[in-house]
């Protein structure tokens, strides 16, 4: 009799109570139901409030139940897990609803005609028209901006990682940090005052591209810098010890090793500037007509088109704005997928 509790305690040091595998789902369902019930009883309208109450109930319920059955340490573990899930859902719900909304409203007028026609002779209130001119504008402006920003950005990053020592490197790093924080409208105003007001050039896609390249450069520098830092120093030393000059080492060993990551960084920078409206509004002006020449006269671009069509406010133009938003999301998504494909294709292979 006196021995029995000791034996039992000994057995329980390695084997504690445990909740069944389905318990998180059960707690989630339970807290959703209770959350809905409480909200209805309190007369809350907003579904966001319903969800938040359910989320809090889920975390608290997990802790209380797990603490009773499994003990406090396991309960903390389960609370951490449940918090991660709640945060994940909080992050994903707006994203999914945004894509859902855009697709639902965008597909109405999204077809081959829409992609291949401009707004040249279409009034805001009329149906028809398309985004061909805006696609041309976006492609050209983003392309020129990338042509300016990518070489400068990559070379700056190479300088900072491979050569930069002392004050100049610190100054460059500092200004790159400052540039990262420049609001897009400020970059637009800078080019506006310099290029259009002082030099007296007209509105053009090129002026917009210059502002976009200012926004793009720090992103390219930063991501390229991080990628170059990931290249093991042993590879540089191996190359130098073979009697390869430093510049060739960088060109033939360091860059090929990191090209996948650099490409991803550049594509992310491209995706970021593709959605910029403010500098385009200031510098490219916008037009309903097709203008293939980025160096002369106003052009359109997708974000600007969306803004203008939505501002026009007629049912037909709002439909076009949603369809253009869908086109913009697809454009950026295709770029990102292309970047991933390149990164995977170029990544150092480890197969046997």
């Amino acid at each position: 009799m006196s021995n029995a509790p000791v034996t039992r305690k000994h057995a329980s040091t390695l084997r504690g109570g445990s909740l069944p595998k389905w318990s998180p789902w059960a707690i989630a369902a339970g807290s959703l139901a209770v959350g809905a019930g409480v909200s209805l009883a309190a007369g809350l309208d907003s579904k966001v409030q319903w969800g938040l109450i359910a989320a809090i109930l889920f975390v608290l319920g997990t802790y209380v139940i797990a603490a009773r059955v499994e003990g406090r340490r396991q309960a903390k573990d389960r609370v951490a897990t449940s918090m991660v899930w709640v945060c994940f859902i909080v992050a994903v719900v707006p994203l999914v609803s945004l894509i859902w909304e855009t697709v639902e409203r965008g597909v109405k007028v999204f077809d081959a005609y829409f992609l291949s026609h401009s707004m040249g002779v279409v009034a805001d209130a009329e149906t028809g028209g398309g985004i061909y001119h805006a696609i041309i504008g976006t492609l050209e402006q983003v392309g020129i901006a990338s042509l300016i920003a990518v070489p400068i950005g990559v070379l700056t990053a190479i300088y900072l990682v491979e050569y930069g020592r002392g004050k100049l490197a610190k100054a460059v790093t500092f200004f790159v940090d400052v540039m990262t924080g420049i609001p897009s409208i400020v970059a637009g105003l800078f080019v506006l005052s310099f290029w259009i007001l002082i030099l007296d050039m007209g509105y053009s896609g090129f002026a917009g591209a210059m502002a976009l390249s200012i926004l793009m450069m720090p992103v390219v520098v930063r991501s390229t810098e991080e990628m170059l830092k990931l290249v093991p120093n042993e590879l540089r030393e191996a190359s130098l010890a073979l009697g390869v000059p430093k510049w060739r080492t960088i060109l033939k060993v360091v860059l090929p090793t990191s090209i996948g990551g650099i490409t991803t960084g550049v594509m992310l920078a491209v995706a970021r500037i593709t959605g910029e409206t403010a500098p385009v509004l200031l510098l490219v002006w916008g037009t309903g007509f097709i203008n293939n020449n980025p160096f002369d006269g106003p052009q359109a671009s997708l974000p600007l088109y969306i803004y203008q069509q939505y501002a026009a406010g007629t049912p037909a133009s709002v439909d076009r704005a949603w369809a253009a938003a869908l086109a913009l999301i697809l454009f950026v998504m295709i770029l990102n997928m292309g970047a991933r494909a390149i990164a995977r294709w170029k990544a150092p292979k480890a197969g046997r």
Partner: protein
Amino acid sequence: MAKRIDVSGLTAYYGSHKAIEDISMTVEPRSVTAFIGPSGCGKSTFLRTLNRMHEVTPGGRVEGKVLLDDEDLYGNGIDPVAVRRTIGMVFQRPNPFPTMSIFDNVAAGLKLNGNYKKSELGDIVERSLKGANLWNEVKDRLNKPGSGLSGGQQQRLCIARAIAVEPQVLLMDEPCSALDPISTLAIEDLIGELKERFTIVIVTHNMQQAARVSDRTAFFNLSAVGQPGRLIEIDDTERIFSNPSVQATEDYISGRFG
């Protein structure tokens, strides 16, 4: 082919920190010289001063002379790139280029420098891989990435890469410390063959290895942590391991210290 190295009064710094002080020694051609000593005593630093890799480290600088057959490596107008072509190096951890195939790894020294004939490249790669005892293992997969090989194979690939540029001297910085005994044996055998053609300097923590492969052995030590490392003595390997002239060497070898 092989050249003699004469070092006199060599002191190396990392920034303001003095890593090794006043080292003088002679490395005989067509022989294996081993450096032994406790961690942090400057063996690797000294090795890296011999082909001017020390100055690749930020803040690294050197005082003193390193003569390669009467030419001072640190003299005026000496191109460090040319020095490194003459004095090759194999590192502690195998470091094949991950983006290149086995073939390209071996050919890297020539290809990256651009001075080669395409027709000769295949022969050079085959000769170097044979020289590194790796040819039979990789001849059917020369176009596969070098990072897919085992650790020991990768290290021999790095040796093949180093000898493909036909250096006069080969420096090895603990080439076997990351390898298993079988790969170590393969590399030690290889060192025995390579010394017919090259002057070899090897840093090792393994005293049996120094005793097995080297003709001469140098013992380095430092008087206290933070003090610069010094050369205690250099002599024929047999003498160092049987009857060293300095007590500290005997203590280190017999395991009474360090």
